[in-house]
């Protein structure tokens, strides 16, 4: 009887896991909706930051590899910039929207998650930790971020993207001046 109960419990847990994974996968918000939500300005146009010279060197230091593209687009209004960046979690890219105001991370949002595991990184309890974080001269976050068991690679990807966005923000404002 106990064995039957255990088998039933095993199958129910498995089914729940599959259900949650498939529910968690997907696109939560389109890129344009995210930008509209951040700036409330339909006329705002994207700008671009070229990843050459020191910018490329900094990106390589953060990513640990050469960026896949030579330029990245961003949106800016005064001291506020928004970035939509992608990083591979385990095998598929996670799309993340990041808003930085005067050198501090204001908002991080997972816009699309395509993996079957590690989806917990889209939850507010995790993303709230990034709020008000800044970049140290060593290109690290000024405060550590607590990980999530079973979502190590996704957490790592989000940490990298937040460092990258803060670094790009500095470079974009520097370019402007």
């Amino acid at each position: 009887m106990n064995l039957m109960k255990n088998i039933l419990r095993f199958f129910i847990t498995g089914a729940l896991f599959v259900l949650i994974s498939s529910y968690a996968k997907g696109v939560y918000q389109s890129n344009s909706d995210f930008i509209d939500e951040v700036f409330h300005d339909p006329t705002i146009k994207p700008q671009m930051l070229w990843l050459t010279g020191d910018v490329k060197a900094g990106a390589v230091k953060i990513l640990g590899e050469k960026p896949r593209q030579l330029r990245v687009r961003y949106w800016q209004k005064q001291q506020k910039t928004a970035w939509i960046l992608e990083a591979i979690g385990k095998s598929k890219p996670i799309t993340v929207g990041l808003v930085i105001d005067a050198g501090k991370l204001q908002r991080v949002k997972v816009l699309a998650f395509r993996e079957t595991r590690g989806w917990e990184v889209k939850e507010d309890f995790f993303l709230d930790q990034f709020s008000q974080r800044t970049l140290t001269p060593e290109l690290q976050l000024d405060k550590s971020i607590d990980g999530i068991t079973g979502a190590t690679l996704s957490v790592r990807a989000l940490k990298k993207l937040s460092r990258l966005a803060l670094f790009y923000h500095q470079q974009a404002l520097f370019k402007e001046h």
Binding site: P46, Q47, M48, L70, V72
Partner: protein, 265 residues
């Protein structure tokens, strides 16, 4: 009973086992050799890096149903070969995209190469380095059905056609604006030169590479799956013969050794 008669009687009793042993051995000989060699190889698959060795033999690839896809496009874009085989797009030997729908065309601009796919566009430097992959997320109108080079008085721009509408890019290919085709003076479709059969050949090989690993073939030989379900049945049979061999071998040895002990006593 004389010793000779007794020996004959014993041999007569063992004869069916000896025959069974002999035939089992003969029938399963080749299969056991295959099973043993592939088994040893699989035990050392990591050291031998079987996963990283790929089959290039066309017959074997055909056997696995790996054939060149129907979708094939071969263009010359400036000094480059722009090629699509299946969902893969190559610029010379460099893989640009592995999830592409139809390759629509490419245009060589003064500073950039612009490659239009049905579901995305690739902006490259003249050296073939990726500047940016433009996607519908970045407001690129899709599906792209045609691509044009529009010449205005000052400069030239890219125009793409989607859903019977025309969209012109800004100077940086960041935004796309709907225009009327009449405004395009003149609108010229970039006609690209096709590649010769000899030039196409390396791309067939490039596509077929990395499709079938040696590990898969060895594993399928071991399990018999290389011949489908029939092969699995044959390998099951070989395994059964091995069982018969070991049991009959043990029985013959047991009977003979018992007799030898009795004889010594």
């Amino acid at each position: 009973m004389s010793k000779r008669k007794h020996k004959h009687k014993n041999k007569g009793r063992l004869l069916p086992f000896i025959k069974l042993h002999r035939w089992s051995g003969l029938v399963s000989l080749i299969l056991v050799i295959i099973l043993s060699i592939t088994g040893i190889l699989l035990n050392h698959t990591h050291e031998l890096q079987l996963k990283n060795h790929y089959i290039k033999n066309t017959l074997l690839l055909n056997w696995y149903g790996i054939r060149l896809p129907e979708q094939q496009t071969f263009f010359k874009l400036g000094a480059y070969n722009l090629v699509q085989v299946g969902h893969k797009v190559y610029l010379d030997n460099k893989l640009l995209a592995s999830d592409a729908l139809t390759l629509i065309g490419g245009i060589e601009m003064e500073d950039y190469l612009f490659i239009a796919l049905e579901n995305a566009a690739l902006l490259l430097t003249l050296d073939g380095e990726l500047i940016e992959k433009l996607t519908p997320d970045q407001d690129l109108p899709v599906p792209i059905t045609s691509v044009y080079k529009s010449h205005s008085q000052d400069n030239s721009a890219i125009v793409i056609q989607s859903h019977n509408k025309y969209f012109i890019s800004d100077d940086d290919y960041l935004t796309w604006t709907n225009i009327k085709p009449d405004n395009l003076k003149p609108v010229t479709i970039k006609r690209l030169k096709r590649l010769s059969e000899t030039e196409k050949e390396p791309y067939y090989q490039l596509w077929l590479d990395n499709k079938l690993s040696l590990e898969t073939v060895v594993l399928d030989l071991h399990s018999g799956r290389i011949l489908g379900q029939f092969g699995v049945f044959i390998m099951d049979l070989a395994a059964s013969f091995l069982l018969v061999l070991s049991i009959s071998g043990f029985w013959i040895w047991f009977k003979r050794s018992r007799k030898r002990i009795r004889h010594r006593l």
